[in-house]
């Protein structure tokens, strides 16, 4: 089997029922994608399959044979420039423990790729499968809106924007 992982064709020798999550983490060795529930209930393992968000913990590798998979490691551009969502994640101080955030970012980036100006309900619908035990939801929403250019003014926020800009971290 082979997958195109973050743009590179990667040969995979493994039992066909092995979940994509463990292939990415333990065989390829990319640790950004997280294990949370094993049942597709929490979204920590979210990656892109041909650009759409899927749960890698319940996706057998055989199902994605020959297809394109992108992980959190692909969000940073080749130039080293962070994805606009990542810049806003930092600006809005989104992460706390940080464990769910790669999955959150993969769901958010799939959303904006297909719908650059989502409304509140569309954001909820795209992000509802991603749990965060630290409760960073309101900041996730703001960071997505900011990226989409939907924050009219900063007084929309319940908090002041104080996170670092990306050039001094």
């Amino acid at each position: 089997m082979q997958i195109i992982l973050n743009g590179e064709t990667t040969q995979i020798e493994v039992e066909p029922d092995t979940p994509l999550l463990w292939v990415i983490r333990d065989i390829v060795g990319l640790k950004g994608t997280k294990f949370g529930c094993g049942k597709g209930l929490c979204g920590a393992c979210t990656v892109h399959l041909n650009g759409s968000a899927i749960r890698s913990c319940i996706t057998p590798i055989s199902v994605v044979d020959g297809q394109s998979i992108d992980t959190i490691e692909s969000l940073v551009a080749q130039t080293g420039e962070l994805h606009p969502l990542q810049q806003n994640w930092i600006k809005h101080n989104v992460p706390q423990c940080g464990y769910c955030q790669p999955g959150q970012l993969m769901s958010a980036s799939a959303l904006l790729a297909s719908n650059p100006q989502p409304n509140d309900i569309e954001i909820d619908n795209a992000m509802i499968g991603n749990l965060c035990r630290c409760g960073t939801y309101s900041r996730i929403k703001m960071a997505i809106k900011d990226t989409a250019g939907l924050l009219r003014n900063e007084s929309d926020l319940a908090y002041e924007i104080k996170g670092a800009s990306t050039d001094n971290v």
Partner: protein, 743 residues
């Protein structure tokens, strides 16, 4: 968490530092323990650093490495403590590299005597010592610069990691002076900055870990990779207290990729060459679990047992003021009700996991833990390794909330590595993480008030029926505290700790009644009683601990009394808070900023609650709607007084975090037991709040010059009662049972 465990061993946090030059010309500062004037030479590694207890290193290239002696689990302490250091050292926090401390006595939490992060006290216990240490190092570097430049110190200033000579504007990096500075004596009482000179405290707002965590680059325990590492899973008894009986392990050992099938203390472990193969093999494992002799636990029976214990005399009185008996006899009216709260799982997003290498009498442990020295104890218990030969490599923590104070997963990994002779990474499944958690204890509350002719309370009688968490925690914690003790003494240390709890030897476990015994309302006669009832369900510290249920009871009941008196529940509280100015202040702030009593669209209801926990004062006002059987929380206005603020946005984040965590518990949280088995095992049966249900949260921080206190937990306790009180307005019914259910 309760206060320090055993008084006698608790060292003061007034640390003594000792500086040394590193081999490459830098400076290393280490913590010297009282009574320990010289270092053993084997504590200095090849580079000349005092690795076991290093605290700060400044390298010649001006790299500044700070060893974080509290753990980063999302609460923002890496940023908070770096900020304290940065302020007095005069270097921006973003230039400080943070390393996580291993297990060492030098890093013990002075409030507990063990190396534990919990109880929202990292800032309050570090506030003085870290700034003093930063100021001392800055002075040493200034003195070194004075020698190098041959100018008096008062011609020199510091600027973001550099010494500046005012006359010539010549700049020398701290790193270039570090080797020389290490020979200076460490000042004992350095002068600290005046708060009006602060550059970072109260102003620093970004998190030093935000970028790593937004790139997927933060290394959690589960991400550790060690050469030749194998993967382990453990099958445990689904029945609480069950033991391994006969099983088909020898057949499972022949399955593809399986390397070992081993019996360990908690069940049967399968070691394989991949995690997936270990899991698949586990599904083929059949075990006859031997039930314990007593009748299996059931939730209904536990409730009945609590009721039975409550009816007995002999609870332990924790507060007694005035004469409660007389107050009730003379009352115009009395009100007696019952509250209850369930067992709760922690459900951290990162499931329990640990990588262990145990060989040749040494153990290396890579994990995410809130208690590295307790981890040493559990490793020592199941291997031939002595406590001091267990090295703990702590990682970023994918959620703690008290769960990672227990080290059960560390003990398992160490035992598997020891018995298999392999380096193993043990990962719990979500189902195992939930079913084999140690839970926030369920509680029952019997509470009564005597009311005068104005409807104001003249008497208050609160009996809390709940187990003691200390009874469960002490077995692993006591040996960490008495780390000199040989292993055969461990059970005795636990037993002694348990028996002496609440005596001068072992301070009381306040977890059952914290947040109830310090009732802030001015009531002439008060009695608060704890009745211990332990049903044998494993229990542990859970975010805000006793406050998580006691605040619910106290703040719902006071609201009930206000309604009984036909008074506004906010104004009723105000009348009774004359002795608690800081609580009164946050209550007023939440009510005024939240628009208490102002007109809202039809169907929007308000509720309020106020509570002090961990010396932080928080009021929360909720606005919600009710649609059939659904509760939709629209907005939470939160006012917090945590003394002087180190990082305003981290305070705001932690209020948001405590509120969301608390809403999950208030609306959904419930662990139940049937035939000895936990009934919830994943996020379908134990749901967490999702983004579409997440309310707008506005946080107001009180400006204060009081000593800083913690924020990791105090946002949680007021939210459940604030919601329940709003539900009363919406439905006319009182909600005295958690989780809050409309039908």
């Amino acid at each position: 968490m309760s206060n320090k465990l055993f008084d006698e061993v608790t060292a003061t946090r007034r640390q003594i530092f000792q500086a040394t030059a590193t081999a490459v010309g830098g400076m290393s500062l280490a913590i010297v323990l009282p009574g320990c004037t010289t270092f053993r030479s084997n504590e200095i590694d090849e580079s000349g650093s005092w690795k076991p207890n290093a605290w700060l290193e400044i390298q010649p290239d001006n790299t500044i490495v700070f060893t974080l002696d509290r753990v980063e689990m999302g609460q923002g302490i890496a940023t908070g403590l770096s900020t304290l250091l940065a302020e007095e050292l005069d270097v921006s926090p973003s230039k400080i590299e943070v390393e996580f401390a291993g297990a060492n006595k030098a890093y013990r939490n002075p409030a507990y005597g063990v190396q534990v992060t919990g109880g929202s006290n990292s800032i309050s216990t570090s506030w003085g010592p870290i700034r003093e240490a930063g100021a001392s190092v800055r002075l040493m570097i200034l003195n070194a610069a004075s020698e190098v430049l041959q100018v008096p110190v008062n011609y020199l200033s510091t600027d973001d990691g550099f010494i500046v000579h005012q006359g010539s504007n010549k700049r020398l990096s701290y790193g270039s002076l570090a080797g020389l500075a290490s020979k200076e004596s460490v000042p004992s009482k350095p002068e600290l900055k005046n708060p009006d000179k602060y550059k970072y405290i109260g102003k620093q707002n970004n998190r030093i870990d935000a970028q790593k965590k937004s790139l997927g680059e933060a290394g959690f325990g589960i991400d550790v990779e060690i050469p030749n590492m194998k993967y382990a899973v453990v099958a445990r008894s689904p029945i609480i207290g069950g033991k391994v009986g006969s099983h088909n392990g020898s057949a499972v050992a022949l399955l593809p990729g399986v390397l070992d099938v081993i019996e360990i203390s908690t069940g049967i472990s399968i070691v394989a060459d991949s995690y997936w193969r270990a899991r698949k093999a586990q599904s083929a494992l059949e075990v006859d679990w031997v039930k314990r002799s007593e009748a299996p636990l059931r939730s209904e029976e536990i409730s009945a047992f609590y009721q039975q214990e409550a009816s007995k005399e002999g609870g332990s009185v924790k507060r007694s003021e005035g004469n409660v008996k007389d107050a009730f006899e003379e009352a115009q009216k009395t009100l007696t009700v019952e509250f209850d709260a369930p067992f709760l799982a922690h459900a951290t997003m990162e499931p329990m996991n640990c990588t262990a290498s145990v060989k040749n009498g040494k153990a290396d442990i890579w994990t995410s833990t809130q208690a590295p020295d307790v981890a040493q104890v559990v490793v020592a218990k199941v291997t031939d390794v002595s406590l001091s030969d267990v090295t703990v490599h702590n990682q970023f923590i994918g959620g703690g909330f008290g769960r990672r104070l227990n080290q059960d997963f560390v003990g398992e990994a160490a035992e598997i590595s020891y018995k298999s002779g392999k380096v193993v990474k043990l990962i719990w499944s979500r189902e195992e993480d939930m079913m084999h958690d140690s839970f926030r204890p369920a509680s029952l509350h019997k509470i009564s008030a005597a009311l005068d002719d104005q409807g104001m309370p003249s008497g208050w009688d609160h009996n809390i029926i709940v187990p003691k968490i200390f009874d469960w925690a002490v077995w692993d914690v006591a040996p960490a505290l008495f780390s000199w003790a040989p292993k055969f003494l461990y059970p005795m240390l636990g037993r002694v700790g348990q028996l002496t709890e609440g005596t001068p030897i072992t301070p009381a476990d306040t977890s059952p009644y914290e947040g109830a015994d310090n009732l802030p309302y001015a009531i002439p006669s008060i009695q608060v009683t704890h009745t211990k009832a332990d049903a044998g369900v494993p229990i542990a510290y859970w975010r805000s601990v006793g406050h998580s249920h006691n605040a619910f009871v106290v703040e719902c009941f006071i609201d009930e009394l206000a309604a009984e008196a036909k008074k506004d529940s906010y104004l009723y509280r105000r009348e009774l808070l004359s002795n608690s100015p800081r609580l009164l202040n946050v209550l007023n702030l939440a009510a005024s900023k939240g628009g208490w009593g102002e007109a809202r669209s039809e169907g929007v209801y308000q509720g309020i609650a106020v509570h002090e926990s961990f010396n932080t004062y928080v009021a929360e006002m909720v606005e919600l709607e009710v649609h059939d059987n659904d509760i939709k929380i629209l907005k939470v206005t939160c006012a917090v007084d945590c003394g002087l603020v180190i990082n305003p946005d981290v305070v705001t984040m932690q209020m948001e975090s405590g509120i969301i965590f608390g809403i999950t518990a208030a609306l959904y949280g419930e662990i139940t037991i049937e035939d000895g088995k936990i009934q919830q095992d994943n996020f379908d049966t134990y749901p967490l709040l999702r983004i579409d249900q997440s309310p707008e949260i506005e946080t107001i921080i009180v400006e204060s010059t009081a000593s800083p206190t913690g924020v990791g937990e105090p946002g949680l306790p007021p939210i459940a009662p604030a919601i329940a009180n709003a539900l009363f307005k919406a439905t006319g019914r009182r909600f005295r049972s958690l989780p809050l259910k409309l039908s």
